[in-house]
Amino acid sequence: MTGLMILIGLVMALLLLFWAAGRRRSDFGANRAEEESPVRLPPKALLGRCLSIEDVEFAAQLGCPRILRLLLRERRRLALKWLRQTRREAGRLLRQHVRAARHAADLRPAAEVRLWFHAGLFLMVYEVLMTAVRLYGPFRTRAFVRSVFAMAGVLTNLGDRIAGAITAGRGHAVREAEGT
């Protein structure tokens, strides 16, 4: 109980601070241009170039470990920047939604919760990628993401085949039952 009490106190203090900070940079009269703009996705090609293996191979051929290290460090920095850009875009989308939703008389709590879930899911994926890039660098992260997708593909195929086999087996059993 003590832990809970202290936690509540801390949360209240934090929210008060957060709210006070929000008051200062109040977005109540924020510019409409930002509100009505569509999703601004950071270019895929930029990340593709950042993760280009040819550059690493070229740097490795030079035989200078310092240059290779510098290249890898820079690529990590660029990948993190790209990720942060997507995070900023998510923040903008959420702010845009909140700005519109607070005036809506027909706001539906269930829809709001679903949106928070979407935002939470995005944040989770973002944090996983950020941590992976920070710890292992962008190249290994890409390999990790590829292997996750490959594994997901294998599992999906397997699931499909199992479902197909069950359906076929059931059909066979029905036919047999009808035959007898």
Partner: protein, 255 residues
């Protein structure tokens, strides 16, 4: 400590009188009736305590009266939360609906937790001690305030000067009260001398915030009705945008 405590006591009484005087003078009592009922109940409880201490009643009776008064003011304190809820969320019908859903689920969670905790206990063990009861009441108030504050922060609702003072002062008071009640209920004998003065300081700080914030009437900013929108459309659009963003985030790393 005695002199300091006495000074705080007098300062607290002076400040509460000032809050009530300004409430009447600036015609705030009619606008914030639940808040001023709470202030009046606190002032009344102070007067009863003075009467009891002067009237040579025995210690046990005084202690009992003190706990009853504390309990009553804690219950009346829910009015302050209601006042905040009423004024801040009234112009925003949609957010009010959201608040109702959040508060209902909070109440449900609290009732459910209590029911699970009390299940299988003997009836005589069900009733908590007065300090635990007050602590729990304050914790529920804190939960409600956290929920309302969370919604205000999340939706960036505009708040007038009066409500800002009301919210800041009361949140501080409830938060500090929970911490000091928890500390005194845990180590009440050894630590009491140090912690006895702390509630008085909390009380004075809260009253200063209220004095400053409730000096005159500042109406709450009203939302612009022209900004009302079709929620279904906005919500669907944001959900789609988030889906696209997530797909973009993961698929960009596959290339």
């Amino acid at each position: 400590m005695g002199l300091f405590s006495g000074a705080l006591w007098w300062a607290g009484n002076g400040l509460i009188a000032l809050v009530m005087y300004r409430g009447r003078k600036a015609a705030l009592v009619g606008k914030y009736p639940y808040f001023y009922s709470y202030v009046a109940s606190v002032a009344g409880s102070q007067l009863i305590q003075i009467y009891l201490s002067v009237g040579h009643y025995d210690q046990a009776f005084q202690k009992l009266a003190w706990w009853i008064l504390e309990f009553v003011t804690a219950v009346v304190g829910f009015g302050v939360t209601w006042e905040i809820y009423r004024h801040v969320l009234c112009p925003f019908g949609g957010v009010r609906r959201m608040a109702r859903a959040v508060l209902a689920s909070l109440f449900g969670a609290v009732v459910g937790r209590t029911a699970i905790e009390l299940a299988g206990r003997k009836l005589r063990d069900v009733f908590p001690t007065s300090i635990v009861l007050e602590q729990n009441l304050r914790a529920v108030q804190a939960l409600l305030l956290v929920a309302i504050l969370g919604l205000i922060v999340h939706y960036g609702l505009p708040i007038g000067h009066n409500l800002w003072a009301l919210l800041t002062g009361y949140s501080f008071y409830v938060g500090a009260n929970i911490v000091s009640l928890t500390v005194t209920s845990r180590w009440h004998r050894e630590m009491w001398a140090i912690w006895a003065v702390l509630p008085q300081i909390e009380y004075c700080i809260t009253l200063i915030v209220w004095c400053v914030g409730m000096w005159a009437y500042f109406p709450n900013p009203m939302p612009d009705r022209a900004l009302e929108c079709d929620y279904e459309h906005v919500s669907a659009q944001t959900a789609r945008a988030f889906g696209r963003l997530r797909t973009h985030l993961t698929h960009s790393w596959r290339i």
